[in-house]
């Protein structure tokens, strides 16, 4: 590792000459090298490396002699555009010719860990891809640019400060000459890696802030883009798994005679999570599964019942929870108030229902494994695979594939679907693709947890809000990890602090002196729950932003002005609120329509939204228009930001209008898009999005557009028919969705 030079505390970069010329930039470091692998980079020529060195150093960037640049991305590509935006950040500081830049998903290795999670793991949740990788990627781009300049200065015998860079060329204006990065790459590889490269002034950005087309757009319009479900390797079989009707049930007796008689079925294997039918192809596997006779042991299985749980949650709303925020003296303020009002809300379980059903390919031969899967949590997936297969990290090559949607479901720290697949592969010892059907996915758990919320506000004699309380009862989707110490056996690995993962606060922004927010985080080992796009903000901000609307009307104020007054110390909230009011022509809806508004800040970003609806006499609800104003500090690619907000609006509307997984005595009642409807084209409103650039550091945008849609919509419904919405989805309140 002689050329390894410290770039910053957490990033080590290593530069070498590629075989046949060109420059290879690799990153080493992170907290641990034990879960690295080589990732078999296709062009890993470079200088001769010992196996140990290749094992510790993951490739990061390639500049080839023909001036093409490939940047490896450690974040997951789940549709949000990380595979475009992260290369843009590197290319900016590198001063690269964007038309010659491509992106590739990185191998699973510590050097690609997400700085947002303290460089502990590759984890693409919590809107953290750009927030996490931004600074480090800039430094790497800047360092390599500086090395290219130094190499050119040496070649020409001039001072480096007299040179400039543009579009993958080093340019000597005085000498009237230029050299491409590709030409210089081998020489640049000999340069010392600068430890503290100077970064651009944001005013000089040429790529950041522009909206080039996604690098994966073409392959996503001609059918050639490869998802995990498209992986095909020689000798591969296909498996489907019969899972217990109630969570954590165990197969007791399996009669597989009929299944094995189905042509094409090769075997039936009982694993921890169910019974796998392995066949030559999907159809045979699925037929085989239908022919299985399984008796389940359900003594310890989950018996969650939606109605019972709702009653229990409502009861717990009366009991104090764990404090999340406590400002001033709420009890005193309540005592002195002229009035205290409150409202209770309820939100059911919801399924992520990403378009690409879960799937994993495992090729395990007893001494090593290769795994392909679309995931937001590659590091933990790989660790669990190693535990189940009894392999060391360097015996597993893990290919994190781009995914057909994630929304949190593919970021399961318990790696459920990878564990299942490894359980099958361990017995089979032949390449196998485990495919989930839509029904498997819908019934397979790891839902957004149900939640009950109670908010209250006290109003003093001057009509000011003197106290605010907010209590949530929901399931902690991460407590399981810590409660069970599941990861104790994993040497050399620590999870980020619970606070980082739960991220539970709502950022209630209003100027209220006395605030108490608390929560009951229940643990239910037999009811798998998980984060879903915007997590608890979906429910907590719904309650907060509908209740604030009620208060506004109670004191005879316009909901926009009321919020604005309470945000006098929150300039970024106020800016998006003003921007959306302006863009939506607040106060002047089209005839027959009603408007609602909501605002919030989280993920270092801010959003305000106005929803315009109409409701017919027979409760037919039409959502006409959703206008959003967002401040994500710095928009790396504004069109990707807008696309994420559009996406979030549609995603939120699906949840608000229809989203509900119901359990009866532990059995999930929904199974496919017929009984779990999601928004379709004809139900989609006009969507307009304004970016309010504050020039602040980058914030997250993947989830930002979700939480305010619900309350803005509910507030608009109140404006239309004078009815308050206290539970979701709206189909529960007998609205018909036009």
């Amino acid at each position: 590792m002689s050329k390894l030079t410290t770039l910053s505390r957490r990033n080590f970069i290593r530069v070498s000459v590629m075989a046949g010329g060109g420059l290879l930039v690799a990153c080493g470091g992170g907290s641990s090298s034990s879960n690295n692998n080589t990732g078999t980079p296709p062009n890993n020529g470079g200088e001769p490396t010992s196996p140990a060195e290749a094992f510790q150093v993951g490739e990061f960037m390639r500049i080839s002699t023909d001036n093409k640049i490939t940047i490896l991305v450690g974040a997951a590509e789940i549709g949000q555009g990380a595979l475009t935006a992260i290369p843009m950040i590197v290319a900016e500081e590198l001063d690269a010719d964007w038309s010659q830049v491509s992106g590739e998903l990185s191998p699973v290795a510590a050097n690609f860990n997400n700085p947002y999670f303290q460089n502990l793991l590759q984890f693409t949740v919590a809107s953290s891809a750009i927030r996490g990788y931004f600074e480090g990627q800039r430094s790497v781009g800047a360092a390599v640019r500086q090395m290219l300049v130094s190499a050119a200065a040496k070649r020409w015998g001039v001072d480096a400060s007299s040179l400039r860079t543009e579009s993958s060329y080093v340019i000597d204006d005085i000498g009237g000459r230029r050299a491409s990065y590709g030409e210089l790459s081998s020489e640049a590889a000999q340069e010392r890696v600068p430890s503290n490269p100077s970064l651009k002034n944001p005013a000089d950005y040429r790529i950041i802030g522009s909206s080039p087309q996604r690098l994966d757009a073409a392959a996503k319009t001609d059918g050639s883009f490869q998802y995990g479900i498209d992986v095909d390797i020689p000798g591969m079989l296909t498996a489907v798994i019969a899972r217990p009707p109630r969570f954590n049930g165990q197969a007791l007796n399996v009669d597989d005679n009929a299944a094995l008689a189905v042509p094409g079925v090769r075997g039936v294997y009982t694993i921890l999570g169910g019974v796998a039918v392995v066949a030559d192809d999907f159809w045979a596997a699925d037929k085989g599964r239908k022919a299985l006779q399984i008796q389940w042991n359900e003594l310890l299985a989950g018996r969650t019942d939606s109605d019972t749980q709702r009653n229990a949650y409502n009861f717990r709303l009366n009991l104090p929870g764990v404090p999340i925020r406590s400002d001033g003296l709420v009890l005193l303020a309540q005592t002195l108030a002229s009035e205290t009002v409150s409202a209770d809300y309820y939100f059911p379980f919801m399924a992520h229902a990403a378009m690409e059903p879960l799937n994993v390919v495992v090729d395990y031969d007893g001494s090593s494994a290769e795994i392909w899967t679309g995931t937001q949590s590659a590091t933990l997936d790989k660790i669990f695979a190693g535990l189940i297969l009894g392999l060391l990290p360097n015996q597993i090559t893990f290919h994190a594939m781009p995914a057909g949607g994630g929304f949190g479901r593919r970021g399961n720290p318990l790696a459920d679907y990878v564990r299942d697949a490894c359980g099958v592969a361990k017995q089979l010892r032949q390449p196998v693709k485990v495919v989930w059907t839509r029904e498997d996915d819908m019934k397979g758990g790891y839902y957004r947890p149900a939640a009950a919320v109670r908010v209250s506000a006290s109003i003093d004699s001057a009509n000011n809000i003197s106290a605010w309380t907010h209590r949530s009862v929901t399931q902690d989707v991460t407590a399981l990890l810590y409660a069970e110490n599941l990861l104790d056996s994993l040497a050399d690995f620590t999870l980020p602090p619970l606070k980082e993962l739960t991220d539970f606060e709502t950022g209630m922004p209003y100027k209220i002196d006395n605030v108490l927010m608390d929560a009951h985080l229940t643990v239910n080992l037999n009811m798998p729950a998980l984060w879903m796009r915007s997590v608890n903000k979906f429910s907590d901000v719904f309650a907060q932003e509908t209740f604030i609307d009620e208060l506004a009307l109670k004191v005879n104020k316009n909901p926009y002005n009321f919020r604005r007054d309470l945000l006098s110390e929150k300039p970024r909230h106020r800016a998006v609120l003003d921007a959306v009011a302006d863009a939506a022509n607040w106060g002047f809806p089209s005839s027959g329509r009603s408007q609602g508004i909501a605002v919030m800040g989280h993920w270092n970003s801010f959003v305000a939204q106005v929803v315009e609806v109409s409701v017919s006499a027979n409760r037919e609800l039409t959502v006409h228009r959703v206008v959003s104003a967002v401040d994500c500090g710095t928009a790396v690619n504004p069109d990707l930001v807008i696309a994420q907000v559009e996406s979030a609006v549609v995603f939120a509307l699906s949840s608000i209008l229809f989203g509900e997984i119901l359990l009866e005595d532990g059995v999930v009642q929904q199974s496919n898009f017929d009984d779990y409807p999601v928004l379709r084209m004809h139900q989609t409103p006009a969507i307009e999005t304004v970016i309010v650039n504050s020039g602040n550091p980058v914030g997250g945008v993947g989830e930002l557009g979700v939480p305010c849609v619900g309350p803005a919509l509910a507030n608009a419904i109140f404006g239309a028919i004078g009815e308050r919405i206290r539970e979701l989805p709206l189909t529960r309140s007998n609205f018909k969705i036009a």
Binding site: A217, T221, D222, G223, I229, T238, F282, A354, F673
Partner: protein, 169 residues
């Protein structure tokens, strides 16, 4: 088992299949045409949309033996040549439609069928034709724009040239 012979993207295919196997799995697994996607298995989401003699069908719930002797076009067979795009694909790129991209093959096949039947669709026409295709990333507004754009492009594309368009015309 059943013998199956049909035309896929202009090429004759003959193979043996298990009776009742949906066309989707024959395309994806036996013929390695993976651009057509599995989404729901019940014809509810449209990710598996292909054309049967120019008409959109849901291949996940269409028994493969029913396509005997017929023409099937998948996303892979849409572009007239390897280095040109179908106008609908072109419009998809211009409007930066795809996000995760998983549903887009099906969306594009539905859009092509719509534009064939209706060269200048209104928003309502688009709603009717496209509401069988689900996109969880919420690209619907861009799909709508792209279909309008494709209608414009198709005028230029279909009128001046007299060459065959796609494999299914």
């Amino acid at each position: 088992m059943a013998e199956l012979s049909f035309t896929l993207n202009g090429q004759t295919q003959a193979l043996t299949i298990d009776s009742g196997t949906p066309l989707l799995w024959v395309l994806r697994e036996q013929l390695a045409m993976t651009g057509t996607k599995f989404g729901c298995g019940m014809g509810l989401c449209g990710a598996c949309t292909v054309h049967l003699d120019g008409q959109p069908i849901r291949s996940c719930s269409y028994p493969a033996e029913f396509v005997n002797g017929k023409n099937i076009t998948t996303i892979e067979g849409l572009a007239p040549t390897e280095d040109t795009l179908h106008p609908v694909q072109q419009a998809w790129l211009e409007m930066s439609v795809p996000q995760c991209g998983y549903c887009q093959s099906g969306q594009i096949m539905s859009a092509v069928a719509l534009l064939k039947a209706n060269s200048s669709p209104s928003d309502d026409d688009i709603d009717k034709a496209m509401s069988g295709n689900i996109c969880r990333c919420g690209t619907y507004p861009r799909i709508r724009k792209a279909i309008h754009r494709a209608a414009e492009l198709s005028v230029q594309y279909y009128q001046p040239a007299t060459t065959e368009v796609g494999a299914e015309s």
